[in-house]
Symmetry: C2
Subunit: 510 residues, 2 copies
């Protein structure tokens, strides 16, 4: 075929002047244009169209929102804040708006939606466009949904893991063994990382820990750590902390070790779904990108935890191990009890309080949190050639009890930008037992939901203090849990749910 173009776009015909509207759409890039502007008319754009917006050498794909009012002049365009930043725009600069090349990754997503497996190259092209913020929320949601449940083959999970590693930065730590730990969430208050990292670093291993913020839970480790020290470290800052102290607890999203993962997690959060394949790819890509060679993964199991049965835990453990091997990671799995929350606090500040009690060896520190942390720290220490199998937990206990762990944690906080005090919430409300009895069962999901509705993790001080573990004998009127909120509206919202939620803590009558 031979093509003769009989028309050519006049240079500058599709140019608009930028006006900062300051609209925050989160990650989605949106361009605001007058429906009656020259560009829309000559290019035939309509609302929701995907367009290419270019500013000098940079360009992004954005969704069109038409403006019919007078917040924009005919020759002006606005951008969502994320698009503004991605283009490095300034007030009054000129942008060119044009039809984008059709994205090949959209065709791959369609294939995935129809149940076809993607190969390595296709998965890489999808993840590059995710990381490059070229896909709309509708397309991202379709991809996340198509991968949910058992939507990904093992090969696809490996491909997804590799693609996520390739689409982000990767740290190198020389020839040393680099260790890590990870917990497959779902257990409120399970904040062992803040105890494991200082123990392991105090022993002398390198543990450059990056943690995520909450996906569907009231707090991620990064949310809790942020209460005590800055976690938004750049790669340079993270390197500095690890070289100084042997370990760190940073937010993976700030380090941008896996920017695609952070974007997919935002969609999963909006849908309130976690998917096994993406979970495995998320965890292993971040460990590999952080330069780790060995990792202990904690899978809590319980009827209302993220993983509900031993069989499901075993299936997940197998996938983590197999995919880990294929991307060059040694993985140790620890399946733990997930029948109730760990410690007392659920929510960033409340969990941080529990952690500090353990590190300070306070007598009323939550024993369950301490013992879980020692078990995991012990397994990590056993990656060292100097620590015989079975000796790790005892060694971890010594490092905690003699104060080395606390000093190391304080030093890490200082290196990350300075230790700070957790805030406390202005509004609280207590749920009390209606009759005497024994606590028989806990609905972790509902407890977590209440903490979220109360404002966690966005409001650091919000959450739930869980006061009655399974087996506790309670009197009528004795507090079972306490809801903390920073605003009256959120407390009311949480209590509104409470009214309709049914049993959260089951009391068996005597």
């Amino acid at each position: 075929m031979k093509l003769n173009f009989m028309t050519q776009t006049a240079p500058g015909a599709n140019v608009l002047r930028l006006k900062r509207l300051g609209i925050d759409t989160h990650h989605e890039a949106v361009v605001y244009m007058r429906a009656d502007c020259e560009v829309c008319r000559s290019e035939g754009f309509e609302a929701l169209a995907q367009v290419k917006v270019s500013l000098g050498p940079r360009s992004i794909i954005a969704t069109v929102n038409m403006v019919r009012g007078d917040i924009l002049a005919l020759d002006e365009a606005g951008l969502s804040e994320s698009a503004w930043k991605a283009l490095g725009a300034a007030e009054g600069e000129l942008v060119a708006v044009s039809h984008p090349e059709p994205l090949v990754s959209l065709a791959h997503i369609r294939r995935k939606v129809y149940g076809h497996a993607l190969n390595d190259r296709e998965m890489l092209e999808v993840i590059e466009d995710v990381a490059g913020e070229r896909l709309s929320d509708v397309a991202l949601s379709a991809f996340v949904t198509a991968c949910a449940g058992d939507g990904l083959t093992e090969h696809e999970v490996v491909a997804l893991t590799r693609a996520m590693i390739a689409a982000g930065e990767r740290l190198e730590w020389g020839s040393r063994d680099v260790v890590d730990k990870h917990c497959v969430g779902g257990l409120p208050g399970n904040r062992t990382t803040l105890i494991v990292v200082p123990i392991v670093a105090a022993f002398g291993l390198t543990i450059p820990k990056t943690s995520s913020r909450a996906i569907t839970s009231p707090a991620g480790t990064a949310d809790t750590m942020e209460v005590l020290a800055p976690v938004d470290l750049s790669i340079t800052e993270m390197r500095h902390v690890v070289h100084l102290e042997g370990g760190c607890i940073a937010w993976g999203g700030a380090v941008k070790l896996s920017p695609a993962d952070d974007i997919l997690i935002r969609i999963e959060r909006a849908l309130d779904i976690d998917t096994e394949g993406q979970l495995v790819a998320s965890v292993l890509s971040k460990k590999t990108a952080a330069g780790s060679s060995h990792v202990v993964i904690d899978i809590p199991v319980g009827p209302t935890a993220k993983v509900r049965t031993r069989e499901a835990a075993q299936q997940l453990a197998t996938l983590l191990g197999r995919v880990g091997r294929q991307v060059g990671l040694t993985v140790t799995i620890e399946v733990t009890d997930g029948t109730q929350p760990v410690g007392q606090g659920i929510g960033p500040a409340l969990e941080a309080r529990d952690v500090m009690q353990v590190l300070r060896n306070e007598p009323d520190a939550p024993a369950d949190l301490r013992e879980r942390a020692l078990l995991l720290a012990g397994r990590v220490l056993e990656f060292s050639a100097k620590v015989p199998r079975g000796m790790g937990v005892g060694l971890a206990r010594t490092i905690l009890e003699d104060g080395r762990a606390l000093r190391k944690f304080e030093a890490i906080c200082e290196a990350q930008g300075g230790m700070r005090l957790p805030p406390s919430a202005a509004h609280t409300w207590e749920m009390t037992a209606e009759f005497p009895g024994t606590v028989g069962q806990i609905d972790n999901r509902k407890l977590a939901r209440i903490a979220k509705l109360a404002g966690a993790p966005h409001d650091k001080a919000a959450g739930v203090d869980f006061l009655a573990p399974i087996g506790t004998k309670v009197e009528a009127g004795q507090p079972l849990f306490r809801v903390h909120a920073e605003s009256p509206g959120e407390l009311e919202y949480a209590l509104g749910y409470l009214k309709s939620a049914g049993d959260i803590i089951r009391i068996d009558e005597r």
Copy 2:
């Protein structure tokens, strides 16, 4: 459990004054608020949060976009245009913004994403929230994706069909048999409806036809009809036209017979996917809601048509028939040839031109379009007790050839608001044969794609004139097809794709 609220929101604390920003986000309801406003601070809202916006007795669920600039004062809120209309808002009115009740339909969508089948009640709750515009684009995309491929059981398709009927209006036509026809798209230029309806109505049957706009094709029947007459009829107007003429060709979206379907179709269009279950539910819900009792469904089959094999057509036919029976519709299926475009034009105005040539019995009218229309009209006529089986096609031909069909079509156009002339495009470009030979194969999808990139269906005059059906003997330099565009930018965009698309029309050398 007993609840004692220790706090209460002061009345009026979460109230903002409306300012019209005029931002068109398509269907998605968005509320724009200052990040530092009293409401965001006291309620803890953040970007992308779902909130309830109330104005007097009306309320909607909207997505929050934060505004940091000065387009809004601290006590002001903006709304997307669709939200503005849904609330019936006026400048300066006060809205209350609060946390919404958690949507139960989101939990159903999650279950569907994880591969569970939804029951009748769950499907109804989802579709009610779709129709009520209470779901975000991310949630809608997850639902569409989870239903794609073979994501729906037959029972779910029946439930979806019934839910779509329940969520919209429903027409009644007394005791008469009401007939209809439908084509399962995918075949460019296949505009038989505009010929079938006047033939059937001229015979005296009732055929209140509602058609869709294009989903992933360059023109839907409603897009083509709109070139010749208004199609945005209200139910009252549609009733009037049908009582007057016995038939109409209206846009189903304007009639709102299935508002949920229209919203789901928008998401399918953004993803460029069609799903079998939703297709069946979409077709049958609209026929039932339009009051039809008998329907002929045309399924064109070809390697690049929507349905590619006889087996797939058979599967779809079976599902249409079975689901039809369960919702009370008599369905006749006609599987037809879908190896190449029908007629010459692809795109609204070009297809309208072909239709008029057939209705006027012009000697160079596309014979393939005429014969297909007569076949389908014949099958529809055979629903009448007065027309013996096998006699329908001959009867249809008589009604076309004696001019009754043309007169009826003109009368329908007048009743719908007045007949008009199709526009023609300012910019055209011809693809010619590089060497002599015989046309061997046509890639319908690529032809359709070019018509879409050239601007169809949004630009009515845009599209492709297809000049060389399979078997045509061509000389070097002879035109194979002609691209029509209303703007230079769009012509260029279409030709840009053409360059990289590979063979569209295969010429076999002599």
